[in-house]
Symmetry: C2
Subunit: 357 residues, 2 copies
Amino acid sequence: LSLHAVILAGGSGTRFWPLSRVKRPKQFLALSGTGSLISETLARIAPVSPPGSAWVVCGKDHAALVQSELPSLLKSRLVVEPAARNTAPAIGLAAIYALKADPDATLAVLPSDHVILKSEEFRRSIARAAEAAQDGTLITLGIKPIRAETGYGYLHRGAARGADLFAVQAFVEKPDAKTAEKYLADPSYAWNAGIFVFRADAILAAIERNLPALHEGLKKIAASLGTSDEQAALQEIFPRLPSISIDYGVMEPEGKAGRIALVPGDFGWSDVGSFAALPEVRALDERGNLLEGDALAVDCDNSILLGQKTRLLAAVGLKDLIVVDAGDTILVLPRGRAQDVRAVVEALKAAGRTDQL
Amino acid sequence: LSLHAVILAGGSGTRFWPLSRVKRPKQFLALSGTGSLISETLARIAPVSPPGSAWVVCGKDHAALVQSELPSLLKSRLVVEPAARNTAPAIGLAAIYALKADPDATLAVLPSDHVILKSEEFRRSIARAAEAAQDGTLITLGIKPIRAETGYGYLHRGAARGADLFAVQAFVEKPDAKTAEKYLADPSYAWNAGIFVFRADAILAAIERNLPALHEGLKKIAASLGTSDEQAALQEIFPRLPSISIDYGVMEPEGKAGRIALVPGDFGWSDVGSFAALPEVRALDERGNLLEGDALAVDCDNSILLGQKTRLLAAVGLKDLIVVDAGDTILVLPRGRAQDVRAVVEALKAAGRTDQL
């Protein structure tokens, strides 16, 4: 069993602006309070998949940042997408590279911008999934829900297929609040966290079944690998590949065909979807405040004060407020408005202030 | 009639921390949005009392700052207190200096940390007061209340003594809310703003009547003026003078004796007692927000965003919040907690962080 981590680092987004910027998206931020999310992702998988076997897929604007964040990553294993084409092409590309390097490769596909609090439990789930994937089954990790979340897709598991292994009965769209409550109470529903384990040859076969145009393109790129045409083929072919997610494009149809299995996961997972989610993954003071840097909270409750080490951020009497000092920019908003960071970003775009984005 | 402005700049305080600091108190801040309050105080009186005739009384820690803020102030007219002894000694000291320079001097005593929006009306009141002061009467300006303020002392005026001139029937302590409402509705009550006009000889005579120990000390300092003993006398005597305000020590007892008169004032006065008072004296956007520097407010109401010119301060969905970026320190608190700035200052003191005070 030869496990290769495939770390997907192509994401961009504005929900952590002004900490995150176009040039430094979320996966490069130390949102868990220690290292960057991407470096923690690599460190977390290392005991079951050494750094030398890891692949990282990212956009060309972030290649240098990935290398500086992940000094142990082999340069030959940094897969730079010429254009962002969503997760199915990204994973397909990683699969052809991995297969070329190791015909027996099993891939653990890991988002680079999530937090996982219990690394040991995480690795146990991955190891179980890798084992179960050896017969060609595509494995998805199903995270045990801890709240009635309406922002995620769910997996509905079916019959047990072995120890910690279940059939996938259905991929379920984001539910309404009432349905989410039902899912929370029912152990057969799990969160889809975008963590997958499969053999490289198995996922390529699944891509061929479901996304033949993508498979065709990947095959051409694969033929060029190691030749002088490699870069030219990548630059020409990849940007024209269909832009589609692995969930919609491959996992759901394969699930309907009964070729997906689920390994349960309960390891303190969070996708840290916005500033408001940070308290899930960070130490808080006795009044529920998250304090970072030189932050001083006087009579504050449930507030998030992300200060700099070199500048005092003082607060009095705040409730449920977020204050972020990003050095060159300060952002203040209520916790309940954390999704509206985008409104500021849009206003700055409209004002042509690209330096702030 | 020879009018000398006496600008009292000895104040310190923490209500505008972190904009104000021990080394740069409120009077040196541009709280009206243009120049520093002290420079505006001097500029405002200049048409009726040229800069060359103005005196400034301040503590030794702020003498250099006064000179840089008021380049037109004659160096010989900067009166530096060796120690802070409240307003009666400060005004008495200015009076002996002024009297030495001009035996006919009439003093317009002006706090250096207030905002006055209507300069012309202000000067009209001062001119009327100066005229009425020539017979030795001590004049206090009585500000027309614009709200039921419980934080100020009030003046209760009595019979008219001429055009825009009234007897003072009583000095009234800070009222409760109900009483303040009554005062607001009754034109015979006015705010005591600490703006006084009197002849230098008259205030010294009043000090002699009410604070003989202070007068004794001032007389000794006066005898040394212009001699080589001047600085030594000041350093030795002034710090031992009784620390007492001109209101309690002189004006109130003189008022009871019928020697005070009141000139009404209605000139957009504000003592800008805290951040929460800034909207009284500043332009607001259509939703009641006060924006300074590079501040961007998205869906905010009645908030005060004091940003720097060189750093973006972005806010979303705030209501009645104050955010102050002082460069090396950021402060965030609700408008209703503006007085609690001191809680932060106390916490910093307790932590020994004198660099932040």
